[in-house]
Symmetry: C2
């Protein structure tokens, strides 16, 4: 399947919440997200990598305007589930390349990561789907990241 | 935006590779995926959560048929980038709910996680996009997971 990168997107309106030392057993993710849903907070990305020693970390992003509310909610949840802690990172941005046939080409991800690396931009989080590869980076690099991704995937020529 | 869950999907043909103790600095993700791309291995999910102390873990899934090849490739990469190690987990399955308007409703994720939790199914990894919420679980629970997700989101009635 031919890969066509059709666009570059960014979102500077998200903040990242990470719950650390989450007990890795059934029901914990449900508890966390039932509580967040009950607080009427919208969640964009959810990222959980595989755990070790019965514990894992869980990160998710919410709108910047919900920073204070989500941290109040999460502090209670951390106590209830016996997690280690929760921290907030506000100066982030999510940059994504969008296209079709993305999953079949580790080459596309490699090109995106290389483009960011060339500019010294550290990739804090990565999440992928068939139509989108998203990286969370320091917010201050947003415009630079979007520009180099446009150049890498030649959006400017297609435009 | 109203959430409509239109389908449940599963994939038992993936295996998970996790690189642990990855130096969290620009260029490392690019190196890993340039090497994988050079070995002509297709990557489906890439999950990297935020790191701590200058290190993070990076997981990705590849076709089951590439297990041996990817581990040979990754053992070299681990040495080159100075990561701690790499491990393979083969008895996994990816189960997903697909729909529109998914991101605006932490409630949808909560329902999916609750459905799995009720059956005692542990969620090893989570990755989301606007149209898909995916969980990696133990392969032996695949059929049970698909069935309870169908029931939860009432696919059977719509069918
Ligand atoms: C960590 C969390 O995802 C847990 N494994 C669960 O299934 O709920
Ligand atoms: C860990 C890896 O993603 C690293 N942060 C990089 O930018 O390449």
């Amino acid at each position: 399947e031919k890969v066509v990168v059709s666009g570059v997107a960014y979102d500077k309106n998200q903040v990242k919440v990470t719950v650390t030392g989450v007990p890795d057993k059934p029901g914990v993710a449900a508890k966390i997200f039932n509580t967040i849903s009950g607080a009427n907070v919208i969640v964009d990305m959810i990222i959980q990598n595989i755990g070790e020693g019965g514990l894992t970390d869980m990160s998710f992003t919410v709108p910047r305007t919900d920073s204070k509310k989500i941290m109040e909610v999460m502090k209670k949840v951390v106590a209830e589930i016996g997690a280690k802690g929760v921290n907030l990172k506000e100066d982030i941005a999510k940059v994504s390349i969008i296209g079709v046939g993305m999953r079949s080409h580790s080459g596309v991800a490699a090109r995106m990561f290389s483009a960011l690396a060339k500019e010294g931009i550290n990739i804090m989080m990565i999440s992928t789907s068939e139509i989108k590869i998203s990286c969370v980076i320091d917010a201050k690099y947003t415009e630079l990241a979007v520009r180099v991704l446009h150049e890498t995937f030649e959006m400017d020529k297609a435009a």
